[in-house]
């Protein structure tokens, strides 16, 4: 009897916590398609707010997508070879490099943004383009890609595969291309999902680095929360959810499938 009581109490508690987290999100999604939030659903469902969001903020949506994909590209080109090098060396040097790569996570985004502004603020062309934001995103998401690829390298005995390919005459580049990278695919995929999700949602860095002409989606969101009516802000948030949820679901499915270590996203 007491066990049932404890079970019910814990269940209730957990459900309350879940409600705390989900209800506002559900509310916001609903508000985004409701005609009038004050009067609730009775006022009718509409897509007019979503359309308004599109008219006002479609450039931010595109920009966020472009930056996310560009960040992915950069982290792939930088991160995969780096993870390979780190895995092969596995000594104090590589541990130090890993520390340095992970530092951007330990430092508040604000500080990093400030640092970038102080260093590159003078290069006005660069500073005013979306590439400036890309630089910040790349540095910030790189550790996730490197960690993810390193994890899979650890699991598949890369060294012996590399030696096997070498014994057959393949040059280091050929081995990397034909054997190392294809077999690291699960880690690369997990890392990619992470990088894109993080980049799409990044705010702390981006808020400091942006200009009125280089706004991203989260920056736009902040604007709308401050100045737009609730329905528009909610519709905008809804658009963000629609972009993010498939990525999250993919990560969960993928993590479950691989039964590997789940790396926490931001």
């Amino acid at each position: 009897m007491r066990d049932r009581l404890i079970f019910s109490a814990q269940l209730l508690f957990t459900m309350l916590v879940a409600a705390f987290l989900i209800v506002p999100a559900a509310l916001s999604m609903l508000a985004g398609i409701t005609l009038n939030y004050f009067r609730g659903i009775q006022s009718g469902l509409t897509l007019q707010w979503v359309v308004q969001v599109w008219e006002l903020y479609s450039d931010t949506i595109f920009r966020s997508l472009v930056i996310a994909l560009a960040t992915l590209g950069v982290t792939l080109v930088v991160g995969i070879p780096a993870a390979y090098g780190l895995h092969l060396r596995s000594d104090r040097f590589s541990r130090a490099i890993e520390e340095i790569i992970t530092l951007p996570l330990a430092i508040p985004g604000l500080a990093l943004a400030l640092a970038l502004l102080l260093t590159y603020g003078g290069f006005s062309d660069f500073r005013r383009s979306w590439l400036f934001i890309l630089a910040g995103h790349a540095v910030y998401t790189l550790p996730f890609m490197v960690r993810s690829v390193l994890a899979v390298f650890g699991a598949i005995d890369v060294k012996t595969l590399d030696e096997g390919a070498a014994s057959l005459g393949a040059s280091p580049w050929r081995r990397f291309r034909d054997v190392i990278v294809p077999n690291a695919a699960p880690g690369i995929l997990a890392g990619s999902l992470m990088v894109v999700t993080l980049s799409l949602g990044e705010f702390n860095l981006t808020w400091m680095l942006h200009t009125p002409l280089t706004k991203t989606l989260p920056v736009g969101l902040a604007d709308s929360y401050a100045s737009m009516r609730l329905e528009v802000a909610s519709a905008y948030t809804l658009v963000f959810f629609v972009m993010i949820i498939p990525l999250l679901v993919a990560m969960q499915i993928f993590a479950g499938y691989r039964r590997g270590p789940t790396v926490l996203p931001r």
Binding site: L21, I107, A115, L142, W173, P218
Partner: protein, 271 residues
Amino acid sequence: MSKRAFVRFCFVPLAVLVTAFFVLPMARLVLVGASGDQGLRAYAAILLDPRYRATLFNTVSLAAATTIASLVVATISGLFLQRHRFLGHSLLVAMLTFPLAFPGVVVGFMIILLAGRQGLLGDVTLHLFGTKEVFAYSLQGLFLGYLYFSIPRVILTIMAAVEKLDPSLEEAARTLGASPWRVVRDVILPALAPALIASGAIAFATAMGAFGTAFTLATDVAVLPMLIYTEFTLSANIALAAALSVGLGLVTWAILALARSYGGTSIAAAG
């Protein structure tokens, strides 16, 4: 190309990216922090100047309260979810971890929807008690916001740790006559201690550096990231902002280093 040359080549893109966009800027930041009128003393200002000390105190208390609250919530719920399977279990877990991807701004908006001027709680209390409770823009609101992004993070780590617990230890305690509560207190919590410390440290570090939430809620409560922001953008007090940033960065990094020594490879991110 020889193997060694190839491996060295593998590091080149990394070296370029990290040096240009991290190492150099951070070095610049540290130097600028010491370049104001007060020079190096700016770094100590965070502790000496009463204004900044108050901000520091606010930030640390808020982060500490958030950490403790989310650890308690996560332990209760995490233990419960990992130990019981029932209809709707996966749904519950998904609901609890879904907010992981929300940026701080969105979290702020969530709190506004819950407890803002047009918030849900306000309507409920108006209905029940006649007065509309609005606390999104106060310390309580900020606390709720911080809780909102901390709980999912901590729950995931705790659940992973609970999965690794050795059930035979609890069974041994029960054969020796321990009540369920004693089993929790004497066996489970000590076994979870490393995970609790690690995820607690991460939650603390994240809360210390959180910016988006405070920004959206635009409270009067001063937290360190907001102070840095206003010093930089409104007061153009660049050196001070830089010094404060470096200080904050050092504190967060130190706490995370502690977390790593206890917990392994979980990662934090500034909220």
